[in-house]
């Protein structure tokens, strides 16, 4: 359907202007300039010709049904134009006017009516309040941005799909400055009908696109974006996305501006990760690795080698590599020996490799060093850092050396140089360049990490096991029920008895034990003094807790007598049913630290043990879990198995469970397992 938007045979421009610098004039100017081959029908009741094209009084008067209509009139006229287009059988209408959903409830009603009109006629709608779409492969520029006038468009392998018009232009500007050709520039505005995800799907189908950049303030159709990501993954098309509104302040700003839906931002991280979409934080990050992606290199690892003609750059690169967790590649003894012969005596041969200022006098040094590094086959990424070059240096030779290196080896390479004149020589030779060493290192690490993300086996939900869940409708399961649900799902839980009578307490077990009242009305027991560790008289404690629950006027399901577990690391495991993204699994530091320090990570099931362990290793407390000062490490695989099962259960319960909190999970030494100690499950209402 969106083919009619991106490659229509004919386009009507409603509100066509003879002035090419007005909203109704610019698309006509652009379509003529950028080689649109179909028919352009200006519609303007007051003119017989517009920009040297025959103009028509109305959409009804056109000699044929236009496939695409650009609606460049405002307010009621725009509403009427949508109706006319729908009646005439137009396939797609781009509504540029603002003043609809973004202004409040009244505007939203008009906008929704507009969509209804379109839907009934089978017409799709872009906008309103949208800058429009542009496809420079077909010359379809249904877009009123001034930027294509200022910065001449050139068809190329990059595509931009952005909710924001202004931001689509900012991204376009940054790509233009890098000399990269851009094919698609789409801005969706209010997204009353077509949104970023659907346009992304259409763009992914364009074989000429080799890098897709997205900007969103809300992910309105996650399943659609997931489908686009899956299609992109199949054809090895990387997607980098900027989802703004990451913080409370940002979401507030987004709400006031587009009415975007707020969501816990780390769920967005988890969603992108699950679908192999790389997340960028601002437009500069969004485009930073563009040249690297476009080389088509997909590094198999992240081992980086840095070569520089400056010792200072070597020091700064080593600093940054350590801080960013980028492994500096080893250099083999053989390679070291060869480097020794090739370089001055005082050159640093370990990675980073300092070819020293001698490069000024001896331009052959780089040609000598690069093959040694390449043949050593220890690295996946190579940065050449040249803080100084230019006059006196044989930069064209260096560029040839780098180009020869990339032909001979699969390493992903980049050059960092503050001087534009230096960068230009490398760009001419097809080598990606950066002004900043850190940005270059980030970009190299990004393509390596992104490649690893895309190479992960796709997790598919297996055949669903029947995970037990009790019938009933109170919001909270009481703790004994919660523990039973988890135990039946296969999670190890602390040994316990739900005791309803004093006799049952006597028959339970001896110390060490923990007693806690069980009431679905009192989900947080500690605050009410309803937890006791090794009480001297368990039966007396049973009575005390029963009376305390009665005093709270809460239901009394009994008292749980639990075997006091050996002390382990305290982690937290949880799950939530996110209104947008569905089940989400949470792993993190346990106890009060979970909320106070927010030391947790989210995953979208189905997940693997490996993925969970990788997330645990990113926690702030990871050094403690790894076994501090020779202590044995925590049994993270055991905890990970619990997380995997919880993810499967959340999928199997298909929406019946709102949340699961298991805090703490005691995790014991490697090989000793893990144990759910406290649990609370909440039903969806």
């Amino acid at each position: 359907m969106l083919r009619s938007a991106l490659d229509p045979r004919s386009v009507a421009v409603i509100g066509a202007s003879d002035n090419p610098h007005k909203v109704g004039g610019r698309p006509i100017l652009y379509m003529k300039r950028y080689g649109f081959r179909g028919a352009i029908y200006p519609v303007n009741p007051g003119r017989s010709a517009v920009q040297d094209l025959k103009a028509y009084r109305s959409i009804e008067n056109l000699p044929e049904v236009p496939e695409l209509a650009i609606i460049a009139v405002a307010g009621d006229e725009a509403v009427a134009a949508v109706q006319a287009c729908a009646a005439r059988g137009v396939k797609v209408a781009v509504v540029m006017a603002s003043g609809f959903g973004e202004t409040g409830a009244a505007g939203l009603r008009v906008e929704q009516a507009m969509v209804e009109t379109a839907r009934r006629a089978g017409m799709r709608l872009l906008g309103p309040n949208c800058q429009g779409i542009a496809n420079f492969a077909t010359g379809t520029v249904a877009n009123f941005s001034t930027i294509f006038h200022e910065l001449e468009a050139r068809d190329g392998p990059v595509a931009i799909v952005s909710q924001s018009g202004a931001n689509s232009q900012a991204i376009y500007t940054l790509l233009h400055e890098k000399g990269l050709g851009v094919r698609h520039v789409h801005a969706t505005g209010n997204e009353a009908d077509v949104g970023v995800a659907e346009l992304a799907e259409a763009v992914v189908a364009d074989e000429g696109v080799r890098l897709l950049l997205l900007y969103m303030e809300a992910i309105k159709h996650p399943e659609r974006l997931a489908a686009a990501a899956a299609a992109a993954r199949r054809r090895k098309l990387p997607i980098v996305a900027l989802k703004a509104g990451r913080t409370a302040s940002g979401q507030k700003a987004a709400n006031s501006h587009t009415g975007a839906l707020a969501s816990e931002d780390r769920v967005v991280d988890a969603f992108f990760e699950r679908h192999g979409i790389w997340r960028a934080a601002d437009p500069h990050e969004l485009v930073a690795a563009a040249e690297l992606y476009l080389t088509g290199r997909r590094p198999r690892g992240k081992r980086m080698v840095v070569v520089s003609n400056s010792g200072a750059s070597c020091v700064m690169a080593a600093d940054y590599a350590e801080e960013r967790g980028i492994p500096l590649a080893a250099v083999s003894d053989t390679a070291i020996q060869k480097l020794q012969k090739a370089l001055p005596a005082f050159a640093s041969l370990a990675n980073p490799i300092d070819v020293t200022g001698a490069l000024l006098g001896n331009p052959q040094l780089l040609a000598a060093v690069l093959p040694i590094v390449g043949e050593d086959r220890q690295s996946d990424l190579l940065l050449l850092a040249m803080p100084v070059a230019g006059t006196g240096y044989d930069v064209p030779a260096f560029a040839r050396d780098m180009a020869a290196f990339t032909l001979a080896h699969e390493t992903a390479v980049a050059v960092a140089a503050p001087q534009k004149s230096v960068r230009d020589e490398f760009t001419k030779a097809g080598v990606p360049t950066f002004a900043s060493e850190r940005v270059a290192m980030d970009a190299l690490a990004q393509v390596a990490d992104h490649a690893a993300l895309l190479q992960r086996p796709a997790m598919e939900a297996g055949p669903q096991k029947p995970f037990w869940f009790p019938i009933g409708n109170p919001r909270f399961l009481h703790e004994a029920e919660s523990l039973e649900v988890l135990a039946r799902a296969g999670l190890p839980v602390v040994e316990h008895r739900l005791c309803r009578t004093e006799e049952e307490v006597r028959a339970a077990f001896g110390p060490p034990l923990v007693m806690k009242a069980c009431s679905r009305d009192v989900p947080h027991k500690t605050e009410h003094g309803l937890v006791s560790i090794d009480p001297p008289d368990p039966v007396a404690e049973f009575r005390r807790q029963r009376e305390k629950v009665a005093a709270l006027a809460a239901s009394f399901e009994g008292v749980i007598v639990a075997r006091k577990a050996a002390k382990g690391w305290e982690l937290a495991l949880g799950a939530r049913l996110d209104p947008q993204f569905g089940p989400v699994v949470m792993v993190g530091d346990g106890g009060v630290n979970l909320e106070a320090l927010k030391d947790f990570r989210l995953l979208i099931p189905p997940i693997s043990e490996t993925e969970v362990v990788a997330k645990l290793r990113q926690l702030r407390i990871a050094p403690l879990l790894a076994g501090w000062r020779g202590a044995p490490p925590a049994d993270l695989p055991a905890f990970a198995r619990m997380a995997v099962l919880l993810g499967e259960a959340m999928l199997a319960w298909s929406g019946r469970v709102a949340s699961v909190d298991i805090n703490p999970v005691f995790v014991f030494e490697t090989g000793q397992g893990a144990l759910a100690v406290d649990a609370l499950i909440e039903r969806t209402l």
Copy 2:
């Protein structure tokens, strides 16, 4: 003395070359080009003229003693030239040749002999292995960098002092690209004699310098750098420093390259902070706020207002402000009402203020909004974010509006725009510009934070109180001694008795108590089972510990019986005598977390309680200390008083104490104080 380096009456060039693109030719070319007014004496035994200047056979043949000598010959010739210059009475020699200290022990010996020669004659030495110095105010370009050929130098308010030649050029390139004039470009190389700190002192004395940028891989003379910083602070000259070798990898790279001394990097942070030097992480960060500093604005606070013509930029700016901890300024109700009248109905009026795309059609919007923001007086920093402008926009008018705003208000302002053509208009109007919104926000926050740092009252060590310290020479004080030292210094310590006999144990106190063996040979007691909490039979426990210590063949000073303190937050307090920076105080998360999670901060005494509390609020565990979920907050002022006293004591002990570890310090609820529980003091050997 360095005046002779920066403004000499005469310069000899030893190894002068007729080829202006050789090391011995470039300084002559540059001095002629950049207007050096003194005498230039090329020294070259094989030529009668060099670059149209009369040449001399040797330094002895010169008609006068040159104030400055550039030694552009290599190896033994350089050594001989240093001797000749010293003999002739030259004031300063710049030795460009490499092949000395940086190549190993043999080279280092030659280098040291060279310095000895110079010292005996009262001559100062720059280098060896140095690119040289350049002062474009006087045209003294004793510097062989090619960059002044490629990028025409222009005298201006910025100074660069860098250990690395290549990096000095990279920094120069970045400043040049910003259109900023640079007066000093000095690269010190091996720093056999003159280092970065001493040159910085000389540059600070130049009233024309308004921003000083440093690059170092080691801080060789902290006291000298501190003096330069103090002088800079007196004349309100900001210093931004890039100290590389922050990580173990970076220090390894620095060692192999200049033999720089490794130091704990956070001490460097503390040192810079104490002296009001802002620290940058790479050359781009080093220059990022340059234009802002040069406006001379020193913001009184950090409240930022963001104005944009794009809702997306507003969202991203709000996100970034929250992430970076930059407070978005409030907008008063009065101002909101005025904005409502000035802006379209759908504009977001809360900060960030979205003037919307309507700015394209109505260029007066900015002129309407800015005065409202200024007169509201709620903000110290203003960012105008224009992701799109250019063709169709009245950018010159916007630039005039911003210039008018800066005339009327003290707010520090910046413009972020990806389009260079847009930035150029603002630059012309004297408004600092940035390509990236985040970099602009960072730079604005930096000048605000840096101003706050420089406005702090300078901490001066007060009249020293006599802090008691026991005579003796074992490396470790035993714990009872350690606690006594702290108590006499005024720190609250846990109530305890050192019991040497069973009778003394009986006479100590009743439970709850803790018993721990006291032996200066066993600083870490827990590992040896020498700590017992509430032992059922204290006398038996005393015997057990005494036997255990005997079995370890360790000295036995007794057993400490300590009153078991109420449980508090466990923090750590410590101090170290840093070999370079002197006493350093450490505050952090206590117990094993101190080392495992490295959640600590360093301060250089003398310090104030306010400074300590500010550091505690930066800890990762700060949310817990602040009182999580309505719990009362920790008594941080009480802990801070302990840290202040420990700092004073470290200064008073003047080098006798190598380290103090107080871990844990129990910190109780606000008003309830804090208590040193375990302590270990180490003497310097």
